[in-house]
């Protein structure tokens, strides 16, 4: 076996912040190599260097044994490297074929015109060769996430990539799609390609990779063979200490009903049905979890409950009253807290400081604005209290939200929402992007709220999180609530099947691929 990639003592600093610190990495040809690490461990930065997007501050990149100095991705592509980013680099309104050949369009008529027929044929040939199922004429915005990912892989292969880098390829896929992806990995390595994929999930690294390199705080803390290691060893490498992998919720008797959703349907922004006929309820002292691959209607469901989206059908009652048509503002006033899934878009106003962000949602409440005039000194005390209690660093209430790291932004949002003294907490991906310590803290606080008799609606794409924290777990697929299960007595595989749209008792399987919300 020859070495496909060798990274030699790579260091990368951004304006003084060290992202990669003296990293060595060797990848053998024809293997699958997993790059494992927590969020922010520097995995993506390292791969961006290999792909020529960044220049290393120090160190050298070797490809096929040759030292290389990539000025741009174009150089990396020339060296046979292809990268599939976590956020797909596709042009939505263009077709599959147009995206695959982008930048390398076959020409005709003295190079003036794109030879569309040839482009199409080449794409068909390529996908047949690797057993991909894509239609070259579909617009990207019309196809599922799984297909988009395959388009990305084809794009790299079309450019003659021998080394494929995939950044968090499984994050947006169903368990079944993940299996399909790993099958593609096998097909590719069998044809001599080399694959490097970034992950923070131990299980899939163990399952799909030949070798695993663990990064922590920008440093390489060890490379191991997948079949010579264990989950526990990897976890310790990643975190640097032993961690409690799964939160535990002690059983507890729920109280009165707080939220009841009945036959709820909703559409997405483009007017396409996204939630259909969903019903469930949540009681005091109960965590109701919703599992599902991202983009199966969870967002729209949550938006309907929190008042950001008008449902097309059905009703929502809250604390005994019908709130189907109530405004967002009145729901906030009525004790509904909401940790949104996208903190940059919704949760925080990035150009406001934390004092101003601390009253987002409370700007009309008597606490901060009794007579329409905001009491800024109260607001400041409030923000400083959250910073203090939720360990937001650095503790500067006057700094703009965008100057904080993702994890600290999230802690601030969580703090703000929990400090509302809510009756219902709607938490979507509450631990996304935070470090392990903060994750544990947030989990504890959620369970504290439950112990105080509050109702919690928890949506997360991390199955272990929803499974560990919930008293009851609903699984969504294609806008439908497939089933509500007892998370303590259900296996991950059973939930995975539900997430993929298969009801265990149904005889025939639904051949239709899951509807992705394209975004």
């Amino acid at each position: 076996m020859s070495t496909a990639v060798h990274l030699d003592e790579i260091t990368k600093r951004f304006s003084g912040v060290v992202a990669n610190d003296d990293v060595d990495l060797t990848v053998e040809r024809g293997t699958v190599h997993a790059l494992l690490g927590e969020n922010g461990a520097g995995k993506t930065t390292l791969m961006n260097i290999l792909y020529g997007l960044y220049e290393p501050t120090e160190g050298t990149v070797h490809v096929d044994g040759e030292p290389r100095d990539f000025d741009s991705p174009a150089d990396a592509i020339d060296a046979g490297i292809g990268m599939i980013h976590q956020h797909f680099m596709l042009v939505d309104p263009m077709t599959v074929a147009e995206n695959i050949v982008l930048g390398n369009e076959p020409r005709k008529w003295f190079g003036t015109t794109v030879d569309r027929e040839r482009a199409r044929q080449e794409v068909i040939d390529l996908s047949n060769r690797y057993g991909f199922d894509v239609n070259p004429d579909d617009a990207i915005e019309d196809v599922s996430v799984g297909v988009q990912q395959r388009v990305e892989i084809l794009k790299a292969l079309y450019r003659g990539a021998d080394i494929l880098i995939l950044d968090e390829p499984t994050a947006v896929l169903t368990p079944q799609e993940v299996e399909e992806l790993f099958r593609v990995f096998e097909e590719l390595t069998a044809q001599g390609k080399t694959i490097i994929f970034i992950s923070h999930k131990l299980g899939e690294a163990m399952h799909a990779a030949d070798d695993i390199t663990v990064l922590r705080n920008g440093k390489n803390v060890g490379t191991v063979k997948a079949d010579e290691t264990s989950n526990e060893e990897l976890a310790e490498l990643m975190v640097g200490r032993e961690v409690l992998l799964e939160p535990k919720a002690e059983p507890q008797e729920p109280g009165d009903e707080v939220l009841a959703v009945q036959h709820l349907s909703a559409e997405d922004n483009r007017g396409i049905p996204a939630v259909s006929d969903v019903s469930f309820d949540i009681r005091e002292g109960e965590v109701f979890g919703i599992a599902g691959v991202d983009g199966n209607g969870q967002s729209q469901l949550v938006e309907a409950i929190t008042g950001l989206r008008t449902p097309t059908e059905g009703s929502i009652s809250y604390k005994g009253g019908d709130i189907t048509d109530a405004s967002r503002r009145s729901r906030i006033a009525d004790g509904m807290a909401y940790i949104p899934e996208d903190r940059h878009e919704r949760g925080l106003v990035m150009d406001f400081d934390l004092v101003q962000n601390g009253i987002l949602g409370s700007q009309h409440s008597p606490t901060f604005a009794a007579d329409g005039r905001i009491n800024w000194s109260d607001a400041r005390d409030h923000a400083e209290r959250i910073i203090d209690e939720y360990d937001v660093r650095p503790p500067h209430a006057d700094a703009d939200a965008e100057s904080f790291s993702g994890g600290n932004q999230q802690k601030f949002i969580v703090g703000r929402e929990f400090e509302r003294e809510p009756d219902l907490v709607v938490a979507t991906h509450p631990t996304r992007g935070v470090d392990i310590g903060a994750m544990e803290f947030i989990h504890e606080r959620l369970l504290d709220l439950r112990a105080e008799g509050k109702a919690v609606l928890l949506i997360s794409s991390k199955l272990d999180e929803v499974q560990g924290l919930s008293d009851r777990l609903g699984v969504m697929h294609d806008g439908e609530l497939m089933d509500i299960v007892d998370p303590r007595n259900t296996t991950e595989e059973e939930i995975g099947l539900l997430m993929a749209g298969e009801r265990p008792n149904a005889a025939e399987t639904d051949a239709e691929p899951p509807v992705g919300d394209a975004k």
Binding site: S15, L53, P73, A74, L90, M94, L102, D142, R270, I272
Partner: protein
């Protein structure tokens, strides 16, 4: 994704065009019907105006600067740079075209090229230079595109009358005494009504070529695809090894080129630059923005919209002369604007390129 959703997406797209086209057609049919039924009424006059060859040729002429500016706007905005300075590009090219011709001497020819055509190209060059300034400011110095565009407009709006005053002592230039003239294609120009297409300003022919050519470049060439990708998802383009900045520069310069053609044609069609108030361009650059938004970034749609505005203007000029017609001229002049408002209110949004208005940089600071 299910087929129904795709159909639905297509439907929205289709319904937008269908509403526009159908609306225009049914209004025309209504007028035709009323006109034929009551030939001596105002509707009869309407019909006569709409079917007159002179209205058509006037509409073509009036749509030239708007269409060219709109085509320019499409290239720039599709590439991700919102060019609100089109008005300024029209102004500067209109002025430069005339002053250059005047300096060369309207009767002169240089290496076989009549002065007026030298002026024409000088006008285009000035617009390209201005758009280059705009591009550097927006792309290299990451200026807010809207503000920089406004600045381009304001600078041109000041500079052209300023230079005219320095040179001529007044905001208007002297009349050149010559214009681009008319190119008449024998035989074809004798066709009733549609003959107007073959008996027109050179700029009209250029426009009739530029519209399909722009469509072709945008949709059938690699460059066009890069332009579209640069405005939708520049990162996608960057990661396949195409230099986003270069594509954006090209898009903006192309927009300067096209707007320059429109501006030069505008002033040289008249043989004079008028610098009063908003100058002779008088909002055509802004109407062009409306036109391409209206035409959904499709060069052919943008031309349709420009032609619609120009046609309304041409009809309005003629309607005004109908005797005994009491509606004040100024009110008739609002028709194009009101039409736009009504259509916008009914049809709503247009899809703006995803990354238009945003800076793009690779995020690496030590490159």
């Amino acid at each position: 994704m299910s087929t129904t959703t795709i159909d639905r997406l297509r439907d929205t797209e289709l319904s937008y065009r269908a509403t526009l086209a159908g609306g225009a057609l049914s209004v025309f049919l209504l007028i035709a019907l009323l006109g034929l039924a009551f030939p001596s009424s105002i509707w009869g006059n309407f019909l006569a105006i709409l079917t007159s060859r002179s209205t058509l040729s006037s509409a073509l002429r009036l749509s030239v600067p708007i269409t060219f500016a709109a085509l320019g706007g499409i290239f720039s905005e599709k590439a991700g740079v919102v060019n609100i300075g089109l008005e300024g590009l029209l102004i500067i090219s209109a002025f430069t075209a005339v002053i250059t011709t005047a300096v060369v001497g309207p009767e002169m020819t240089v290496v076989g090229l009549p002065a007026i055509w030298i002026g024409f190209f000088a006008g285009i060059l000035s617009s390209v230079l201005f758009s280059a300034l705009f591009a550097v400011v927006c792309i290299r110095f990451k200026a807010d595109q809207i503000i920089a565009g406004l600045a381009v407009w304001l600078i041109a709006l000041g500079l052209a009358p300023f230079a005219a005053t320095v040179y001529y002592g007044g905001v208007n230039t002297d009349n050149l005494g010559t214009t681009l003239g008319t190119w008449t294609i024998p035989v074809l120009s004798d066709i009733p009504f549609f003959g107007a297409f073959f008996d027109a300003d050179p700029a009209v022919y250029m426009m009739l070529v530029a519209v399909p050519a722009s469509w072709y470049v945008l949709n059938r060439t690699a460059f066009g695809r890069h332009v579209r990708a640069s405005g939708e998802n520049p990162k996608a383009l960057d990661t396949v090894g195409v230099d986003v900045s270069r594509v954006r520069y090209a898009g903006v310069l192309l927009s300067g080129f096209l707007a320059g053609v429109g501006g030069s044609a505008l002033s040289l069609g008249l043989g004079q630059f008028v610098g009063n108030n908003q100058t002779m361009v008088n909002g055509k650059g802004f109407i062009a923005i409306v036109a391409y938004l209206f035409g959904n970034y499709n060069p052919i749609g943008a031309f349709g919209a420009s032609f619609l505005f120009a046609g309304l203007e041409a009809a309005q000029i003629r309607l005004q002369q109908v005797p005994g017609y009491a509606i004040p001229d100024s009110l008739i002049q609002t028709i194009p604007y009101v039409t736009v408002l009504v259509v916008l209110a009914l049809v709503g949004r247009t899809r703006i390129p995803e990354a238009a208005g945003e800076h793009y940089d690779t995020g690496d600071d030590n490159r």
